[in-house]
Amino acid sequence: MLSNLTIDPQETPAPYPLGARGPFPDCRLSRVLERRWLHYALLSRDGELGLVANIAWLGPPAENDSVRPRITSILLIHKRGIGWTSSQFNAETAALWSSFRQPHPFNTERDFQVRSAAGHPSVNLKLQRTSRPCTSQCAPFAGEHFLRWQSETGVIACGDWVHNGTLHTGVEAIGYHERVRGYWGWPEMGGWVFGFANDPAHAADAQTSAPPTAIVFTLIQPHSPPDAATGSVMLWRSGRLRRHFPRRCVTVSVRGQLDRDRVCQVPDLANLFGVPSMAPIPRRLVISAKMGEDYSVLDFSCEAAARIVIPAETGIDPYSVHEVIGPVTVEGRVNGERFAFETFGIVEFAGGAGGD
């Protein structure tokens, strides 16, 4: 078991005297806007079920405070045709999994158990890694604010999902995992577009091998400075990162607007408060990348969204992150090899609402 991943901030070691070590230092969060996240997004191979989970460690409310960092955990599950259900920000994590925090061999199953305090939604999964993570990336903005992330795609899962009180057993899924470290305020953050797609691959060994192709894209759109926006597309082939298309090689376009009736607001508690109007979520998202002869085009159609209303640490206006699920087609060429697949993907549109 990955005992060192149970959520107990007391275990966080003291800051290193010579400063933080590496891009994702395992040092104490000492300021209110410091954050450390573990993020998960999984989709069942038939596209019927989707999962988003986020475990966030936040710095103490006051600088140099001895108070423990705060932890917020949320779990969302989507069932096609029914919609999203969500925990509050107090999801219970019996066992966490992270290839970053606890490196382990490929094709080794580990537990991942998260459930709402209310009992459902919940998942009890065995996760295994099949791919290598990308190099970490960092978006600095608004002075000392920054967002640093690292993604690993091709995460394979199998286990039980409970959505709306209904148990789905033995669901096979594939997705991605990400770790985030940063220091940012929500007003300074602006917004982002994150997402991924794994070739579902129907080969006999699909449940144990890396997807033939996987793609992760990012677009960070801080309010300031004007040139702070950045984006990237990363492409894996058979578990190895083959191409990193940097910001200048990437274009992102959208069209239309998702019907607001297809967006639900979570957690339920948010509906009791006067939350600003949600931003118009695009209906279509196309991300293209081209570098030399290599290219990829990802065409995502938004189908259903959950607006997660996140309480701000330093103000009364909440921040919104929209988890959007829908069909995606990917095609392209890398190192002379063509690829194309259709599957379901999850995209995050963050920011946008009044007050964000």
Binding site: V193, L219, Q221, R255, V275, S277, R283
Partner: protein
């Protein structure tokens, strides 16, 4: 499926007709630009059209114009190629294919009018369908040069042209614009989705545009939206009314009035306001159903008070089933409406539901006060002398629940609880509501019973204090006034159709109807102006575009 468009002139006339029904704000703006100019159009297919503004309406006829101030000639090619949005018009019109004549200012006014029509109407899906039909009749001019060879990446598939990577450079914007038909973007929606969406870039490698910032949309399709909202709310009402006894004496009667469909103005205002302020259309449906139930309850009681015999083309409830059942049915409708409002608690939460109750209470209070004022006037034989008295009564009796409250309630559904912001709806929709009511009163005198629904001259038989009546009593000589008072003071059952005809003739003689039409027009324009000023804080979306169309609908309504 529409009939095949016969000739270019017919295409333009049909386009204006479609716009008048679907997007009156565009027509009103175009008529304003035309400013009294008559335009004659001639086409290479030997068809002709006349365009002229009439107040806020645009009259388009497929005839040769008599004495036009501006004339334009398009050859056979030019109109067809103008549709091709992938090419600039200047590249398409050959020398001699377009000829425009008239005084410079008039020509410029016409140019502005057509530019406005092109900019605001071309995005409407219904207009695109109309023009596509026309274009499809003449494929030779535009199709040949765009089809790429059948190569690995550039095959023609199902009529769509798939560009090769080398053509587009795999730029995301090009990909969206060229490789995928727009229809795949569509999902059923109650409000919105009536415009063909434009692609926009979020990131081109250097410049970032926030994903949450939409291009402004000023218009939408009022006709289809009203139909969507009306249908959805009708279904909701059907679900609210219980399927149990006593059916024949109560619940079947409750279903009677909502079945007699109106225009769907209130449901559309409620749902569009909710969407315009960022809410979900689904959240406003039950409230819109509650308003309709209140409305129908008020109508049942109003028909009893007015001794009306017909409502929406059929006998009133008390005429058909007797007074006792009708009164009870009206009460039950109001009760169910309250129940429908309360049932929002689990979905909208306590705060918004309390806000809704507050708004509904206000709406009902205004309505019953307005009804009391009018009934009091009739009982006491008073015909007010000032239009302002009518404005006050009309706003209270119908303005609040027809225009103002639906908007405010929709906004509350979206979570808007600031009294200052909710009040921004009041003045614009007060003016529009009065104009709408005056027009309804005019239609009762002039319109056909089958279209209007009430019996012709029913308002005169009821002794209703309309603007025409007030103007007439203010204007006539003392002798005629005594005669009019003698007719008006009679109970309804003692009035004859001849009495009503006499009143109507006198109104026509003293110009009361023209006065009312002009007054309604002025009020409607003031309402539209206040709409733009007071509601500028609402972002320009299709939902706000619907509210704008409704505001302008009053100015372009044929009387």
């Amino acid at each position: 499926m529409r009939a095949v468009i016969d000739g270019t002139a017919r295409l333009l006339v049909d386009t204006v007709d479609e716009l008048s029904r679907r997007a009156p704000a565009i027509v009103a703006a175009a008529a304003h630009e035309m400013a009294g100019i008559t335009l004659g159009l001639h086409f290479g297919d030997d068809t002709h059209a006349e365009f002229r503004p009439q107040q806020s309406r645009l009259i388009a006829l497929a005839v040769r114009a008599q004495n036009p101030q501006v004339e334009a000639y398009f050859d056979d090619r030019s109109m067809r190629l103008l549709f091709d949005l992938e090419r600039r018009p200047i590249d398409q019109i050959l020398a001699g294919s377009l000829d425009v004549r008239g005084e410079r200012d008039n020509v410029l006014a016409v140019w502005r009018t057509f530019k406005l029509l092109a900019q605001r109407a071309s995005g409407l899906r219904s207009v695109q369908i109309l023009w596509r039909e026309y274009r499809d009749r003449f494929p030779d001019y535009w199709m040949k040069q765009l089809i790429l060879p059948d190569t690995e990446n550039g095959a023609v598939k199902n009529g769509a042209i798939l560009h090769r990577p080398s053509d587009t450079g795999w730029i995301a914007l090009d990909y969206l614009d060229h490789r995928h038909p727009e229809e795949s973007d569509r999902l059923p929606s109650m409000v919105g989705g009536m415009l063909v969406p434009k692609s926009r870039s979020l990131w081109d490698g250097r410049k970032s545009n926030p994903w949450w910032e939409l291009d402004a949309a000023y218009d939408s399709d009022l006709r289809d939206t009203m139909l969507n909202c009306k249908t959805r709310v009708r279904d909701e009402i059907a679900a609210i009314i219980p399927d149990r006894e006593p059916k024949s004496a109560l619940y079947d009667l409750i279903r009677e009035y909502p079945k007699r469909e109106g225009k769907g103005l209130r449901p559309t205002l409620t749902i569009a306001s909710c969407c315009a302020l960022g809410g979900q259309s689904q959240d406003a449906v039950r409230v819109a159903a509650a308003i309709e139930l209140f409305h129908n309850g008020f109508l049942v009681h109003d028909d009893i008070a007015d001794e009306s015999t017909h409502r929406r083309g059929e006998p009133t409830l008390h005429t058909a089933y007797g007074m006792g059942l009708a009164v009870n049915t009206g009460d039950a409708m109001n009760l169910m409406a309250v129940d429908a409002i309360l049932s929002n608690l689990p979905t909208l939460g306590l705060g918004r539901t309390l806000g809704l109750i507050h708004e509904i209470m206000h709406m009902c209070r205004e309505t019953v006060e307005g009804q009391a004022v009018e009934l009091g006037w009739i009982r006491d034989g008073i015909v007010p002398t000032r239009d302002e008295d009518y404005f006050m009564m009309s706003t209270k009796k119908t303005g609040w629940y027809t225009c103002i409250s639906p908007c405010r309630l929709g906004a509350v559904c979206a979570g808007e609880t600031s009294p200052e912001r909710l009040d921004r709806f009041n003045e614009a929709f007060r003016l529009i509501g009065i104009a709408f009511q005056i027009q309804d009163d005019v239609l009762n005198l002039q319109g056909e019973e089958s279209l209007y629904g009430k019996e012709r001259l029913g308002d005169l038989l009821e002794g209703k204090r309309t603007v025409m009546m007030i103007h007439l009593f203010r204007t006539v000589d003392p002798i005629t006034r005594r005669r009019l008072e003698e007719i008006c003071h009679r109970p309804r059952l003692e009035k004859t159709q001849e009495d009503a005809e006499e009143l109507l003739e006198t109104m026509q003689l003293f110009g009361s109807i023209e006065y009312a039409i002009d007054l309604a027009n002025r009020l409607a324009h003031q309402g539209v102006r206040r709409f733009e000023e007071d509601l500028a804080f609402i972002p320009e979306t299709e939902a706000k575009g619907i509210l704008r169309q409704i505001a302008n609908y009053v100015t372009t309504r044929p009387l």
